[in-house]
């Protein structure tokens, strides 16, 4: 599978159900999702999920939280401890591996969650509004960070968001979805070169993409009709 960032711009409130379907937490209502040639029929070990909340386990240290998928899937901690440490370095959390979640800020906790989603080297990273709970400044910073991590790891990311600029900034493809029934309304290709800096938000192409996607929402008479 080619590595790309797909941001699904959710018009509907049922975004959780949609990631749920792809990660097979919920059965699909119609159609079929395929990953690396096989249909997604149940929870899979080659998918990493990042939720809106960091969903860390408070009784586990940062490193132990990151190693959770390794423990669950019985992959052997010894072979993955170094990978986990490298990933923590990559997200800028070196020196924090022994800390506990309550000692971290919201942005740092979400970085731990991203690290945890990557540690078992999944084929697909599902991100369900991962930065929705962060303040606007941290959120922009995390967008840049995610891009940096992505350029390093080159994993396909399915990123669900309600923020149009976030989608356009991050994505190679932005899929605009309609509310009930959830259908793909438009497939927008964003061709800007990477790494993108936050400055591209001021360019005419960026504004054009945002304007075009937003038009769908206005037709509906508002967001989340």
């Amino acid at each position: 599978m080619s590595s790309s960032v797909i941001a699904v711009n959710a018009l509907t409130k049922r975004y959780a159900a949609r990631t749920g379907t792809v990660s097979a937490l919920l059965p699909a209502t119609a159609g079929e999702a395929r990953l690396r040639g096989t249909a997604i029929a149940g929870p899979r070990k080659d998918i990493g999920v990042v939720f809106q909340a960091p969903v860390l386990f408070p009784w586990r240290s940062v490193l132990d939280n990151v190693l959770l998928p390794i423990d669950v899937q019985g992959l052997g901690r010894d072979g993955h401890r170094q990978d986990a440490m490298d990933l923590l370095n990559l997200v800028g959390l070196q020196g924090f591996e022994g800390r506990y979640p309550w000692e971290l800020s919201g942005g740092m906790q979400q970085r731990v969650a991203i690290t945890r989603a990557l540690v078992h080297d999944p084929a697909l990273l599902l991100m369900d509004e991962p930065f929705g709970a962060l303040d606007a400044m941290t959120r922009e910073l995390m967008n840049v960070e995610l891009q940096r991590i992505w350029m390093e790891k080159k994993k396909t990311v399915l990123f669900i968001t309600h923020s149009i600029p976030e989608a356009v900034f991050l994505a190679d493809r932005v899929l605009v979805m309609t509310p009930r029934p959830g259908k793909i309304l438009e497939d927008v290709r964003v061709k800007s070169a990477r790494p993108r800096s936050l400055d591209i938000m001021n360019t005419p192409e960026f504004g054009e993409h945002v304007r075009r996607i937003r038009a769908h929402f206005n037709v509906k008479g508002g967001i989340d009709a």
């Binding site: 749920g20 990660s23 937490l25 149940g42 929870p43 899979r44 070990k45 998918i47 999920v49 939720f51 909340a53 969903v55 386990f57 408070p58 009784w59 959770l68 998928p69 423990d71 669950v72 899937q73 506990y100 309550w102």
Partner: protein, 258 residues
């Protein structure tokens, strides 16, 4: 606030309270068998401790309390796990448990003496019976309180139900279980004492009863003093364990800072 000054003030307050008590009893000439003066209580305490009588009885009470606590909490935790994790278990057994729970367990003490005799075992059973419910209820609540998002995370990792239990539900239930142990410890002491009231050859509860028959009120006061110290120490033991086990629990940190 100045710590040394506070300690000093609380010592002064204690001395003042005891002095007022002592003076009141003397001036008003309250009879010994109604309210003994603190000096008389101290005297009885000294006599009991030096002669070794209190220590001997304390030993029996302590053994039945701790064993009853362990037995009752283990059963409460086990059954609670069954109820929380199995629909069938809950459906068929929970009604009986609730029925039994609304019964004052202390009322069973005479029966238990008939069944288990005057020795230690009836006290242990009594203590276990009262220690059982706090653990049961808290275990059920704790195991059922696992955050939906965390369960979803585990599912998304293709975790088995067994893994979800050991890696998520159980640690998540620990704050509840520890709170249950806190209550169960004190309950077990109550259960043991009541058992000794009803019929025993040893124990501080039995000592209180016999002192009551001889109108030795200062003796009773001195035993009560021992019991409250014992209760306090048992409670501290649980608190220490809890702090160790729940180092990650935010509510625990607030308590430490307070």
């Amino acid at each position: 606030m100045n710590r040394a000054r506070n300690v000093g003030l609380s010592v002064i307050l204690f001395i003042a309270l005891v002095s007022v008590w002592e003076a009141g009893v003397r001036v008003l000439q309250v009879p010994q068998f109604i309210l003994p003066a603190p000096s008389k209580v101290a005297e009885a305490l000294w006599r009991g401790l030096v002669s070794g009588v209190y220590i001997e009885h304390l030993y029996y009470t302590l053994v039945s309390t701790v064993l009853g606590f362990l037995l009752g909490s283990a059963l409460g935790f086990g059954l609670g796990t069954g109820v929380a994790m199995s629909r069938r278990f809950e459906f068929f057994l929970y009604p009986y448990i609730v029925m039994f729970q609304s019964l004052p367990k202390i009322a069973l003490a005479p029966l238990i003496v008939i069944w288990f005799g005057l020795g230690l075992s009836s006290k242990i059973v009594n203590a276990a019976l009262v220690a059982f419910f706090p653990l049961l209820v808290n275990t059920i609540a704790g195991l059922k309180s696992a955050d939906e998002e965390r369960v979803n995370l585990m599912r998304s990792l293709a975790a088995s139900e067994k893994q979800i239990f050991w890696m998520l539900r159980l640690p998540n239930a620990l704050p509840f279980v520890m709170a249950g142990l806190d209550v169960a410890m004190i309950f077990a002491l109550i259960g043991a004492i009541v058992g000794e009231f009803v019929g025993a050859k040893h124990g501080l509860g039995m000592l209180i009863q016999s002192m009551n028959f001889t109108m030795d009120v200062s003796g009773q006061f001195s035993v009560l003093l021992i019991l409250s110290v014992v209760g306090l120490i048992l409670n501290r033991c649980i608190s220490l364990i809890r702090k160790r086990v729940l180092f990650w629990d935010p509510s625990e940190k607030e308590k430490v800072e307070a």
